[in-house]
């Protein structure tokens, strides 16, 4: 089985690209692959706890927690991008980590495939 690293800039609300990347991660983990999931820019919106589910908006907290529980999924937010948006360490949902951008680049080192979603 392989390792997929997904990096995304897309926001939780206002674009379905983040939904795409989470669904792809779910499918990859289900097939036995490991997934590293990196969020920077507006994607760090996903790394804010306390999100409520509304049917008009994407709600990814539940699938992310299920992915984390598999043990084959790491999720990391760009610390500076999050802080710039007012998302602090104490706002981070359980199981999420926050690092600088070199974490993402390091993750690509042993990744078999990298999917970088560099826009909304």
């Amino acid at each position: 089985m392989g390792k997929l690293t997904i990096g995304t800039f897309s926001s939780l609300v206002g674009s379905l690209s983040l939904d795409f990347s989470v669904k792809l991660a779910e499918a990859a983990v289900k097939k036995g692959h490991k997934v590293d999931f990196w969020m920077s820019g507006n994607a760090t919106m996903l790394a804010k706890k306390g999100q409520k589910a509304f049917k008009d908006y994407s709600f990814l907290a539940k699938p992310i927690q299920e992915l984390i529980a598999t043990g084959n999924f790491q999720i990391c937010a760009c610390e500076a991008c999050a802080e710039a948006r007012g998302y602090h360490k104490e706002d981070c949902p359980d199981g999420f980590i926050r690092k600088s951008m070199d974490w993402y680049l390091a993750s690509t080192f042993d990744a078999d495939r990298v999917l970088h979603i560099g826009g909304d």
């Binding site: 070199d102 390091a106 690509t108 495939r113 560099g118």
Partner: protein, 137 residues
């Protein structure tokens, strides 16, 4: 010991979205990636500007003056200061009527020695061919 090559391909326009800025800041982060890797292992990043993305390279950007934010030009200069390989598509510069005089080609004023390379698209294709992973922004 191994080196993995990441080709950042910048095709988006600057400022309206964060994509090109993030491409550069991520590429520059390759300079500190070793803390996560085994001794001798490396991640090498290059940045190529294609399509509308070449407009990120215009000289004289004044984002700090008007919006209080660093310019893409400043980040591009830092990438050259760090000896990153920078490729700018000649055909796309031509399309916009731009020459090397109009775009950031070096970081000499801050002590950089590496210059940007204006190249044909074919060279950028080769960069993608040689890369371990391609990251389009």
């Amino acid at each position: 010991m191994a080196t993995k090559k990441l080709a950042f391909i910048v095709r988006s326009l600057p400022y309206k979205t964060e994509a090109s800025r993030l491409a550069l800041t991520h590429a520059i982060a390759s300079q500190t990636v070793e803390i996560y890797l085994n001794d001798g292992d490396l991640v090498e990043a290059s940045v190529s500007y294609v399509g509308d993305g070449v407009l990120n390279c215009l000289k004289g950007q004044q984002g700090m003056k008007h919006y209080g934010i660093t310019t893409i030009e400043g980040h591009a200069k830092n990438s050259l200061l760090l000896d990153m390989r920078v490729l700018i598509c000649k055909e796309d510069l031509d399309k916009f009527g731009l020459t090397e005089d109009n775009i950031l080609m070096d970081a000499e004023d801050i002590g950089g020695e590496t210059k940007a390379n204006v190249v044909s698209y074919g060279e950028i294709q080769k960069e993608m061919d040689a890369a371990t992973h391609i990251l389009v922004c």
